[in-house]
Structures are given as C-alpha cells and as structure tokens.
C-alpha cells in the first residue's frame, strides 16, 4: 500500500506520524501518575509502527501515473477488514456482558471485567469500531464512484482511517482502566475527544475536496447522507464534549454543563448520534449498495429529497424524548415528543423508497442473501423508527422508560438495521473491491443471514417481554395503595428473558465470526477469477472502476 504513495506523500506521512509520536511522548511525560501515560505509550507505539512501515518502504519504486486512472480503494479495503475485527470483538464483549446480566459472577474478579467497564467497550466497539469503520470505508468507495473522481490525495484518507481507529483504541482501553466521562456513547475523555475532532475535520475536508472535483453534475443521495453524518457528528461531538480537564497531565475532566442542562445536552447528542451516525450514514450506504446489488433504479428521487430533509430537520429536535417525566421543563418534552412523531413520516418514506426500489428484483432478494441482508435492514429500519416514535409519546414512555424495552428497541435498530445493512454492503463491496467473482462461500453468507436474523428476533422479543414485564411490575400497586413488587422481584421475573437475550446475542456473534472468516477467505483466494470480475457486476458499466469523463 505504501508503494502507492508518491515520495512527497511518504514524507508527509512520516512527518504526521512523527508529530503524533511526539504527542505520545508528551502524554507519557506529563501524565506520569495517570492512565494518560499508558495511553501515551499506545499513541507512541502506534505512530512508531507507522514510521517504521513507511520508512521501510521509503525507497520502494514510485507509483506510475496509472494509479490516477483508478479509484483509490486501499483505505476502503483496510477499513472493511478493521470493521470486521471490531465487530467480532464488540459482539463478543456484548454477549459476555449479556451473560453477566444472567450471572453477575461472570466477571471473574478483576475491576476491568466488571459490567460497568465492559459495557462501553461493547457499545464503542460495535458503534464506532464496526459501524464507524464501515462508514468510512464505504463512504470513500461510494464517494469516488458517484463523483467519478479519485480521492484528492493518498495520505489524508489513511490519516482519517488510522486516526479514527486510534481514537477507538484509546477509548476502549481507557474504559478498562476506568477512564470515562460517564456520558453514554460519549465516554472518551477530553484528549481523545480533541484527537477525534482533528480526524473528523480531515474526513469532512476529504469529502468536500472530492465533491469539488466531481465529474458528475449531480451529487448522489448517498453523499447527502454521508455529508450530513460527518458534519452533524462533528457538531454534536464538539458541543457535548465541552469540558475542562483537571490538568493537562490527567485524563479526568469536568463537563461544561451541569444538572438538567447536562442531561439535555447529552441526549441532544445521544439521540442525534442515533440519527446522524447510526441512521444518516447507513442510509447513505443503503442508497448505494441496495440499488446497485438489485440492479434497479431508486424508486423515487422526490421521496429521497423529502425524506432527507425531513430526517435532518426533525431529528434535531427529538433528543428531549429521552428525558420525559424528569426535571427537564415540560415544554421541552412536548417539543421532543411532537417532533419525534412527525419524524416517523420521512423515516418511513426512506424505508419505503428503498423497499419499493426492490420492485422488479424480488427474485434476487429470494436468491441472494447479500441483497436479503439489505432488504431486511430496510424492514427493521421501518419497524424501529415506528417503535421509536411510539416510545417518544409521553404516556407510552412512562411504561417503557428505564426498562429493557429501550434496550430491545436499540438492538432492533443496531442489529436489525445498522448491522444488517453493513453486512449486506460489505458482502456486496468485498468482491468488487478485491476483484473477485463472488464471496468465497455464498452458502456461508446465507448461514450468516439466518443466524443474524434469528439472533436479532430472539434478542428483540426477549427484551420486549422483559421490558414490558419490568415496566408493569414497577407500576403495580397493592389494594392498600403501595407498590406490589420490590426491584429484586422484577429481576427474578426478567431472568429467563436475560438468558434468551444472551442466546440471541450468541447467534448474532457466531454469524459475525462466520462473516469475518468468509471475508478473510475471499481476500486470500488466488486472483485467477479476479481478472474477469468487473468492479460493478450489474448493470455492466464500461470501464467500471476507472475514471470516466462525464462528457
């Protein structure tokens, strides 16, 4: 991969890595009595490895100008591999904590293995490690092909990809050492947050530069969504993480917000992270890979427009539905609830748009597990957005809030929608990226599909039952007017559902492992078939994979 870099790019890459290494050394120096020094070591070692890798190939032959006639896909390939590594780790930790909820003794003792530390390792690994890498990888892939323009340079995409993974690595290792801001889905501490801002701005700049160089008159829907994802996540991340560190040598910081303002900022962030990280980005994926795989045009351009602006506008207001019946003023709750209800229509218009795109290709959905992954993702997207709007209604929320119903809802979205669309997109793009005829084993894709679907359904049904039982028990009164059940009574009632949930998670994990194996084998098989495979199998495009002037 380094052989693809020009001499200047190699120099730039070394300089950037050296700068990061200096940062790592500084962290070791100033953070001596703190977990920060351990993170300093990680940063230093990571950048030293980069310097050695680039330095080792520094005098390798320079790339020919031929490369400019092709899309730059190396970062996408590495991103997909990283994404599959993160998903296996994240799902495994997730299932571990699910079994801890069945049997709390499964921590085996040490502090790092307690539920409180492992749970954010699970969420960060699957959301940011798996989802984030898949978004970066597919966004570069889609951006180039829908712009008919190559990425503007060959260093910044690597900076974004590796920098982002460094962020994820610092995040999860930090949790294990107890380094956390205690803000859900925004746990990483201030120095790591700073780092992500640098990485993320670079990501946005790549997007803008590539779009500016595009050879297509129009910007494709996927890019609207990817852009919204990058831009809004930057805003959310910066605002929610405003904090003052206790000193530059310590990991600990204090948020700029307190009390109910803190709660509101956090859930404005939290819900829009769902909206723009877990929805907008993956809609971008869906809008490219589903019609490509199906070989059908998008059902309605007009629906795309309505849904895009509806989703981006309404979502921004919805966060306060996480704080119904709290100290948050009721008028804010009203706005959160009503905007969540209006949000349902553009969400369903999106789901409808992609499912109607499959009209004329349902035979392919039947035969092709990859396309079926994407179709089921669309269905779960529709189900979850309906459930979300429903749960945002105050009276419904009074039953569902704080119960496992929320956990079930989140996983219907995370497993059924986000993971399914990602697996579908990865299975579609791996043969295209590595120039293979097809995946190593379509049968294993099929097996993965059924394991993932079964795991999701078992998980979600278990949590619906558990959550509703829990919520009802909490509000059951005796005839004398006192609460009928203690908290422990509800735990006893939920125990069987916890077992079912952990089994569902296990099925999903096995599916993920099969997927990782299948992708690995696809990459490793010899390139004999590669010569004949085209970049985009259907519909055939002349010279796909190369740059085409639009004229």
């Amino acid at each position: 991969m380094i052989a693809q870099l020009t001499l200047t790019e190699r120099q730039h890459a070394i300089m950037i890595s050296a700068a990061v290494a200096v940062l790592g050394a500084l962290m070791i120096l100033v953070g001596q009595d703190d977990a920060m020094s351990i993170h300093g070591v990680l940063v230093f070692v990571a950048s030293a490895i980069m310097i050695f890798r680039i330095g080792g190939s520094y005098y390798a032959p320079l790339p020919s100008d031929d490369r400019l006639a092709h899309y730059y896909d190396d970062p996408s390939k590495v991103g997909i591999v990283l994404s599959m590594i993160w998903v296996v780790v994240g799902l495994a930790v997730g299932d571990w904590v699910a079994w801890q909820l069945v049997n709390p003794d499964l921590t085996f003792g040490p502090g790092w293995s307690s539920f409180g530390r492992l749970r954010p390792v699970h969420t960060t690994s699957v959301i940011f490690g798996f989802g984030g890498n898949a978004l970066i990888a597919t966004s570069f892939y889609v951006l180039q092909r829908t712009s008919r323009a190559r990425l503007p340079d060959q260093v910044s995409p690597w900076f974004v990809l590796y920098g982002y993974n460094l962020f994820c690595l610092l995040a999860v290792t930090g949790y294990l050492m107890g380094v956390t801001q205690s803000k859900e889905y925004a746990e990483p501490e201030w120095y790591n947050d700073f780092w992500l801002v640098v990485v993320w701005v670079t990501y946005f700049v790549i997007y803008l530069r590539t779009l500016a160089r595009r050879k297509e008159p129009h910007i494709y829907v996927s890019n609207w969504y990817y852009m919204a994802f990058i831009l809004v996540v930057a805003i959310l991340h910066i605002v929610n993480n405003l904090a003052v560190p206790i000193s530059l040598g310590h990991t600990k910081s204090y948020s700029a917000f307190s009390g109910v303002q803190d709660a509101m900022t956090q859930w404005w962030y939290g819900h829009n992270a769902v909206a723009f990280f877990l929805t907008a980005g993956f809609l971008g994926m869906m809008y490219y890979f589903l019609p490509m795989r199906a070989g059908r045009p998008i059902y309605s351009y007009r629906m795309s427009i309505i849904s895009f602006w509806g989703i981006t506008f309404f979502y921004m207001w919805a966060g306060s539905h996480h704080l119904h019946y709290t100290a948050l003023p009721q008028w804010v709750q009203t706005l959160g609830m009503t905007f969540s209800l209006m949000l349902l229509i553009p969400s369903w218009a999106s789901a409808g748009n992609v499912l109607l795109t499959l009209n004329g290709a349902w035979d392919k959905v039947r035969d092709d597990a990859t396309l079926r992954f994407m179709m089921v993702a669309g269905v779960f997207y529709g189900l979850t957005t309906f459930e979300g709007s429903f749960m945002a209604i105050r009276t419904v929320n009074s039953l569902s809030h704080y119960t496992d119903w929320t956990v079930g809802h989140v996983h219907a979205g995370a497993l059924g929608w986000v993971a399914m669309i990602t697996f579908g997109s990865i299975y579609a793009s791996v043969p295209w990226l590595w120039k293979r005829q097809q995946m190593y084993s379509p049968k294993l894709v099929e097996a993965h599909f059924w394991l993932a679907l079964a795991g999701t359904v078992i998980y979600v049904f278990a949590m619906w039952n558990s959550g509703i039982v829990q919520g009802l028990m909490w509000r059951t009164y005796t005839e004398s007017g006192t609460l009928a059940y203690s908290f422990v009574d509800t735990l006893v009632a939920m125990h069987p559902y916890y077992i079912a949930r952990a089994v569902g998670g296990l099925l999903f994990l096995i599916g993920g492992c099969i997927g990782a194996y299948n992708i690995w084998k696809t990459i490793r098989i010899s390139g004999a078939a590669a010569e004949q495979a085209s970049d985009v199998p259907q519909p055939a495009v002349v010279g796909a994979g190369t740059l085409q002037p639009a004229e």
């Binding site: 297509e216 829907v221 008028w331 009503t338 004398s480 796909a544």
Partner: protein
Amino acid sequence: MAVEQPERDSYTGYLTTGHEWNGLKELNTPVPRAVYFFLILTFVFSVGYWVLMPAWPLGVTYTKGLLGIDQRNLVAASLQDAAQERSVWTKRIETESFAAIQSDARLMAIVRETGHTLFGNNCAACHGADAKGGPGFPNLTTGSWLWGGKPEDIFNTIRVGINSTHPDTHVGQMPAFGRDQMLPRQDVIKVVSYVYSLSHPGATDVDPAKVEAGKAIFAANCVACHGADAKGNPELGAPNLTDRDWIYGGDFNAIDTTVWGGRQGHMPTWEGRLSALDRKILTLYLVDKRTPRP
C-alpha cells in the same frame, strides 16, 4: 456536461430523472399521496398538542397551553391523592401500639404486602430477599436478636443502626483478642474450644482438656459482654453463644477467626431515609416473619 436523458423504466413505467452515477439511476416517481397526508396529519396533531400543552419557549417563559397542565402539579396532586387513600390504614399503623396492630388481621395483611417491597428495596441487599442473611449479615427469622427482639427494640435498631453515623447509634465491638495480643495463641484456641462446646454440647471433635481450660479464660475475658451463662447481652449487642445462630459462622475455624481478629459489624441508620411509618411496617414485618425457636 452530460445530456440528461430521462428513460422509461420498463418495469414500473416511470421515467428516470436522467441522472446517472456509475450506472445508478433514479426514477422520477411522484411522492405517494399518503406521505403528504401523514406528514400533514402528524403536523396538525403536533400543532393541536402545542396549543393544549406547554410547548414553545418565549424568552424567559413559555407557552403554557390551554389545558394548563403542568407535570409538577400533576405529580404532586397524585402523590397527595395516593397518600390520602392510604391514610385509612397508615394513620392506624402510625398511632396504634405494636400489640394492637399485631392482633388486627387486616392491618397485618397490609404489613406483609407492603413490608415485602420495603424489605426488598432496602434490606434485602444485605439480609437476603428471604431475610435469612448470609455470612456477616444476621438471619432475621431465627428469633435471636443482637440488640433485642421486642418490636420496640427492632424499631430502634432500624432507626439508629449499628456502628452507624447516627448520634444515638448502637455501638458494638468484639475485640481482636489474638491479633491485638490480649490473649496468647494457645489461650485463644482454648477459649474457642470452650465457646464451640457451648453450642455443640457433646461434641467429640474438640479436646475436653482445652474446653475445660477455656472456661476459665472465658470467665476472665468474655463474661463482661457475653454474660456468665454466655447467653449474650442485648444492651451491648453481644450475641448469645449457646445457640446455633451465628452471624460469622459457628464452626471451630470461624469462631477462631472471630476471637483472633475481632468483629465490628455495620448497619446503616434508616432514620433519614425511611419514614417512621415505613420503619414501623418493617419492624412489624420482621416480627411477623421470625419463627421463634421452640
């Protein structure tokens, strides 16, 4: 600039927009009426809701809504209503004597129901959901009580706690006779043998000579708290050593550990956390639950 050429899709019959990306096209299908209908419907609902409920901020205040609903007032009112409803029996529990309540089957039924939840949410973490305790935490169903088993005593113990932060807390400590070198190791073994024999009469697994020797050591060191008959003293929280109810274990090794290293248990004060009514219900719940030894 490519000439945008809409094409007709043979399957749906709709025209494409003429845009194309790497072979990807879009149909120009009109937005289904239902989308507009439901968009308008949800919007109209929202407007209605905004008019009726607190909704939009206006600088330092907000639109209060025509219904005049406020979640704080609602919850305050419903709490008051609930308290009013319960007052039929809460007043009686608050004012009547323990004996009077215990003889009223209907009140005791309420105590059992309510006590279960109160105990589960406040006491079960240490004493277990069945109140049978565990290592280090007393079993509350045996009828042997460190600080007295009369309802008034239990009520007071819940109020002040043991070695707690309450000014009137029960204070109790078993000294570390071995670790603090108040007794040599051999004497500890002797006195432990004696204590073991008290709750295990006729036990053959201890040396009778040591039991005999331990008796004198016990008389010199232990009777001040545990009494000459070793039956304990609820004034000091000293346990009865002649029964089979042990907090930290009653086998030889467990007793040895206790005599060697001492004990100082802790129970929090509940005065600031639970109302007098709740504490009285818990007291009655426990008195009702214990199963006195024959």
